[in-house]
């Protein structure tokens, strides 16, 4: 043999290049197969992103409430939790003395009273599309001790002065949406309890909060008493948010039992809300997962079919390759690489689509059901994409086995004869 011929250290590269050339030969068929894989992967990635993102968003939203336990008027606790998260409209109020009764419980580390009211957004009262502003009446010192991370946007403002009756602090989203700055006025139409007509009110913006990534961004804050009087509920409260000195299942149960004796009150652990909110969508997620699994199976069958077809079409060529020195393993590797290339391409394309489409998926999911969490609920992380690509590689590995084995075990004489 020619002494100039040297051992090759890049054989894998040569086989990959051969595989590509074979796949290019039937571009449409290859593209369709890749699309099938892409579609399945996009679904799987979106689902993964939804599971991860949703849990993350719920945990974040609830952790950012700052308190572990809520005391609120009786009703469905989960409705109550969503209400707290997104500011629903069916507000219910605690009797005014609940705060005084509860606040001296020795198990409590800190407690803050919150009054929630809904105002019609200024100037939109007569529009067909009414929008709402959530107003939180708060007790600033105790509220801040629960949420120490709340900060003003650089150089924009302060909390309310003690004697103020008409000062508001805006969450970052509200401020951005309404184009308000510190010193501007903030207008809202508020319907006081007992009235049928909304009353036009003007407030003064004294501070704008930095973005927190929670429902606080969309909230207008005012002093507890201003809010109560604006809504003409001078003694009432919506929520008592509190932290226990020791928080675990046992202390929570004790605390719950202790205060459930108050007739109109329910005690809600946010841990329990988290679990419930997550399980609420679990059914939906299982259904999407089932569809994704079917899509994956269909895509896999497509891949196997495509590769098998191309193996049979190339019977003659495979025989020739064997005649000119290809071992069984070489043919196996070649066909198997083709399968892998299809699966990897499909998964990369699918991931890209899922990545860019995550906004749409998010919109679609939110339009079907608003889960009342802020932040994105479809979160496509590199981890999710990594798993999808790895998963496709593994599936490609199995999908390729049979066609590759078929090709590898073709006998050269017969293949060449048949392949003519």
């Amino acid at each position: 043999m020619d002494t100039r011929l040297k051992e090759d250290h890049f054989t894998l590269f040569r086989y990959v290049s051969l595989a590509f050339k074979n796949l290019r030969r039937r571009m449409v068929r290859t593209a369709l197969t890749i699309s099938g894989v892409g579609l399945a992967v996009a679904m799987a990635v979106s689902l993964g992103g939804f599971v991860m993102g949703y849990q993350g968003a719920i945990n974040r939203s609830i952790d950012m409430l700052g308190f572990q336990v809520m005391i609120m008027a009786k009703g469905c606790p989960y409705e109550a939790a969503t209400l707290m998260l997104k500011g629903g409209t069916g507000l219910m109020y605690l009797p005014g003395d609940t705060y005084e009764k509860v606040k001296n419980d020795p198990d409590i580390e800190s407690i803050t009273p919150i009054f929630v009211g809904i105002a019609l957004k200024e100037g939109t009262a007569k529009d067909s599309e009414k929008t709402f502003t959530i107003i939180n009446g708060i007790d600033v010192p105790s509220f801040l001790s629960m949420k120490p991370w709340l900060k003003f946007q650089s150089g924009s403002g302060r909390w309310f002065s003690p004697q103020s009756r008409d000062e508001v602090v805006l969450g970052s989203e509200v401020a951005a949406f309404e184009h308000r700055q510190v010193g501007d006025s903030f207008e809202a139409n508020i319907t006081p309890y007992g009235n049928t007509e909304a009353v036009y009110r003007q407030f003064k913006v004294v501070g704008i909060l930095a973005q927190a990534g929670t429902q606080d961004d969309g909230t207008v804050f005012m002093p507890l008493d201003s809010a109560r009087s604006a809504f003409n509920r001078p003694r009432q409260l919506t929520i008592l948010g509190l932290k226990l000195k020791q928080f675990n299942a046992a202390t929570m149960r004790d605390f719950e039992n202790k205060w459930l004796k108050l007739p109109e009150v329910q005690v809600v652990s946010l841990q329990q809300v988290k679990t419930t909110l997550i399980s609420l969508v679990a059914t939906a997620q299982t259904m999407i997962a089932a569809v994704a699994v079917i899509a994956v199976i269909v895509a896999l069958i497509g891949v196997i079919n495509t590769i098998l077809m191309s193996v049979y079409e190339r019977t003659g060529e495979i025989g020739i390759m064997k005649a000119i020195g290809a071992r069984r393993g070489d043919i196996f590797q070649l066909i198997w690489l083709e399968t892998l290339v299809i699966c990897l391409f499909g998964s990369v394309i699918g991931s890209i689509f899922a990545w860019f489409g995550s906004g749409l998926v998010e919109k679609a999911i939110r339009s079907l059901a608003d889960f009342g969490v802020s932040g994105s609920i479809v979160l496509i992380t590199p981890g999710v994409v990594g798993y999808a690509i790895l998963g496709s590689a593994v599936l490609g590995f199995f999908a390729g086995l049979y066609p590759a084995w078929r090709a590898a075990s073709m006998r050269p004489v017969e293949s060449i004869r048949e392949g003519v």
């Binding site: 040297k6 051992e7 025989g319 020739i320 000119i324 071992r327 060449i416």
Partner: protein, 217 residues
Amino acid sequence: MKRHYHRGSETVKALDGVDFSIHSGEMVSVLGPSGSGKTTLINLLSCLDAPTEGTMTVAGKSVTGLSEDQLVEVRRGVLGFVFQQFHLLPTLTVMENVELPLTFLGLKPHPQRTKEVLKLVGLLDRASHLPKELSGGQMQRVAIARALMIEPKILVADEPTGNLDKATGESIFGLFKELTQKGLAIIITTHNMAFGYEADRVMTLEDGKILKEEKRV
């Protein structure tokens, strides 16, 4: 050597006792009517198929009773093939087709050698063309170049001129003769008597048996 094909209860004696040898630098042609067992013989000689009965030795090594995987090892680097239908890979250029055997042998592409081989078959200027852009004769030359790439000791050609016109066929035979000068053993089947009798030795098969064997002087 014998090669029988079994079809149900029926046995086709495609080769029914053939005994001969080929030496390096020798060109042997196999003539015979259709169905006489030429292709069957060629497949055995090229280690693509195993005899039902009998023994065979290639380059000093016995290949009797070897499995398919072991036969590949014998083929690799020793045997070159040329087929009636050329069988080039349509997706690869002339150059890539010729280099392909190196890939399967785990050897680095060697453009210099590829060019030399292409020059030998007179197709250097077509190196970057695809097979479909070539004429039949040119495709057969590429197939020959591919077979020569690994410097085989034996070149096996089953009706290499079967799909070519007379003039092109002649030039292919001319090329084969040149190659035998370099010490290559060549065995060819053909229907064409005129071509067949250009070989050093002519073997005529009939019904799987050697009818006659003539040595040319």
